[in-house]
């Protein structure tokens, strides 16, 4: 294909029209650089925002169904958890083991943590502080990224040990190894030892106290579990996955992080649309630039085209000469643009001191390249049509 004479002529026209070629390539490069930089900035920013929101939190939470009567009077679905109704299922899931079993088989699921939630009080130095308790297994600690964020001590739960959020620990002046009494609302109390203190960045997260699942169960008098917390590989697929499983389960409900963070998602999507609008107009302006430069070139090369046509160049080939030029300009321009965008991103990260990463993935690079090549090829159709329609006799007769 690249050995055809249309390519040879297209490339030579570009090479010999150096000034024009360089200008238009720079124009495309700048457009692509802006596009690439903006898109990776936004994508990186959104990814880090989402990661901060749900990176150390469940993406899907399996909870007891809202109301039992609805279940009893509703149509009996042939579902996989079609067991005897249990009356206390409003606050806990009694026969819960099957759900992790199901979810484990799903390749989209990253981790599953059966959890017992509850609250209690800690008395220390004459102060009583209410705390939120979470009974989890090792998997749960992983889900909340406790080991990565441990400040002192160890992220381990066994027997009496508990892991404390930094906010609580500060308030009660706790340090690893301290022993204290944990009370529940029935007035019962249990002895725990501070095994570690973590800081996961968020205030809500740092107010948590993690206990082992069994300890929490007996302390909070829960026979099953309060919820099953799930993380999936693709954060944005959580809602879809939750909905899919919800269809098969009648005795539990599934909540995705998206359903709890509508506002954040709306803000992200508004940001995306405004970015896309800017990108759209950048592409339009690139296309107009190419169309006008190649349009001028088509007029300038009219003489050459006329003689090529006299010598037997078909209308289609004459058009190809311009389409190939458009494509080549797009390819070189976007390649240069991506390099410039990468440099811009690097400088931004290095000198502006941003605390989030850019998204320099293959998709981010390939998309503007494809768009620019497509736009410049489409833009070249205008001069290409003109070239195809040119009659050699007009050129020859008019000298």
């Amino acid at each position: 294909m690249f050995r055809s004479y249309e390519w040879m002529i297209a490339l030579r026209f570009l090479k010999k029209g150096k000034g024009q070629t360089v200008l238009i390539i720079l124009g495309i490069a700048m457009g692509v650089a802006v596009q690439f930089f903006l898109a990776s900035l936004m994508s990186g920013l959104q990814a880090s925002l989402v990661d901060r929101t749900v990176g150390a939190a469940p993406h899907i939470t399996v909870l007891p169904a809202d109301s039992l009567p609805g279940y009893v009077s509703g149509p009996q679905k042939a579902s996989s958890d079609n067991r005897n109704p249990i009356y206390s299922e409003k606050t806990e899931i009694l026969s819960w083991q099957q759900y992790p079993e199901d979810l484990k088989k799903d390749a989209a699921v990253k981790s599953i943590s059966p959890t017992v939630n509850g609250s209690g009080f800690i008395e220390r130095g004459g102060v009583t502080v209410p705390v939120i308790l979470k009974g989890v297994t090792g998997e749960g600690l992983k889900l909340y990224k406790i080991s990565e964020n441990i400040v002192t001590g160890k992220a381990e739960l066994s027997g009496d040990s508990a892991v404390f959020g930094k906010k609580i620990a500060d308030r009660l002046s706790l340090s690893a190894g301290d022993k204290l009494n944990l009370k529940n609302d029935r007035g019962e109390q249990v002895f725990v030892q501070v095994n570690g203190i973590f800081d996961i960045g968020s205030e809500a997260g740092n107010s948590l106290v993690f206990l082992s699942l069994d300890r929490a169960r007996s302390f909070l008098r829960v026979d099953g579990v309060s919820s099953i917390e799930v993380q999936v590989i693709d954060v944005f697929a959580a809602d879809r996955i939750a909905k899919r499983y919800a269809k098969g389960y009648t005795r539990v409900k599934l909540e995705s992080w998206q359903s709890k963070n509508r506002e954040l998602l709306q803000a992200l999507s508004a940001q995306s649309s405004s970015t896309n609008t800017i990108l759209f107009f950048v592409i339009i302006s690139i296309s107009l630039g190419i169309a006008s430069v190649l349009g001028i070139a088509a007029v300038q090369k009219q003489r050459q085209l006329g003689i090529l046509k006299a010598m037997g160049t078909s209308n289609g080939s004459a058009a190809k000469i311009f389409i190939y030029q458009g494509f080549t300009l797009g390819l070189f321009g976007s390649f240069l643009g991506v390099l410039a965008g990468l440099a811009l991103g690097y400088m931004f990260v290095t000198f502006a001191g941003v605390n989030f990463g850019f998204d320099f993935s293959a998709k981010m690079i390939i998309t503007p390249v494809i768009l620019a090549c497509l736009a410049s090829t489409l833009a070249s159709l205008i001069p290409a049509r003109r070239a195809a329609g040119l009659s050699p006799i007009e050129v020859i007769r008019n000298g």
Partner: protein, 249 residues
């Protein structure tokens, strides 16, 4: 019967633009013998270039028939005419029309590229042989802008020959050159024509140049007013005939 490579019948050419129209050729019938050299002469506006362009399949006639190589060519679609021109016809124009972006050698190879793509080594050799024959091998890597008018016209002659066409159409090939250069370009064309068994049809307004042809066809006001066969009449007789300026169709 003569072996005619071109046979045109009742050619009419009318240029129309909006409500205005002008007839340039009136019912022209003309036959051109294979391997001959025909000069088309006539005053400005006589329609000689238009006739050449019609015969060369560049400009379709408004009506009439053009048979080349025994096949009707009038009425064919643009792209098949392009293909035919590429394979069978060579062009030499007054304004050489070389592509300024390409070197002399590349310009010569372009008709080959158009028809068959990249030129193989033996075609490049053939182009170089042609350049040597024409006396421009030294210029092979020069761009048109770096060559003299005579050299450029020689390049365009080589270009016209590269696909070994049956017919070469030339429109005032010496019109832009000084007398000496023009003379040498013309004799070169004649020689090449004889060597390669091509048919040469040339438009000129210069009677001296026309007398170098085998036959002179004179046009006035879009009609053929006379056809002088120099070969059979002899040069002196032909000269005498041409000197008689009154020519009425």
């Amino acid at each position: 019967m003569a072996d005619n490579i071109i046979s045109a019948k009742n050619l009419n050419k009318i240029y129309a633009s909006g409500k205005m129209s002008a007839q340039v050729l009136f019912d022209i019938s003309l036959e051109i013998e294979r391997n001959s050299f025909t000069a088309l002469i006539g005053p400005s506006g006589s329609g000689k270039s238009t006739l050449l362009n019609c015969l060369a399949l560049l400009d379709p006639p408004t009506s009439g028939s053009i048979v080349i190589d025994g096949k009707e060519q009038a009425g064919k679609d643009v792209n098949s005419l392009s293909k035919y021109r590429n394979e069978r016809i060579g062009f030499v124009f007054q304004f050489h029309y070389l592509l300024p972006e390409f070197t002399a050698l590349e310009n010569i190879l372009i008709p080959f590229n158009i028809g068959k793509g990249q030129a193989p080594a033996n075609t490049v050799k053939e182009a170089e042989r042609l350049m040597e024959r024409i006396g421009i091998l030294m210029e092979k890597n020069k761009y048109p802008g770096e060559m003299s008018g005579g050299q450029q016209q020689r390049v365009s002659i080589a270009r016209a020959l590269i696909n070994k066409p049956g017919i070469i159409f030339a429109d005032e090939p010496t019109g832009n050159l000084d007398t000496e250069t023009g003379g040498s370009v013309l004799s070169l064309m004649k020689e090449i024509n004889a060597e390669n068994n091509t048919t040469l049809v040339m438009v000129t307004h210069d009677r001296d140049i026309a007398l170098k042809a085998d036959r002179v066809v004179e046009l006035v006001n879009g009609r053929i007013c006379r056809s002088i066969n120099i070969k059979s009449l002899g040069l002196k007789e032909a000269e005498k005939l041409l000197e008689n300026r009154s020519c009425h169709p």
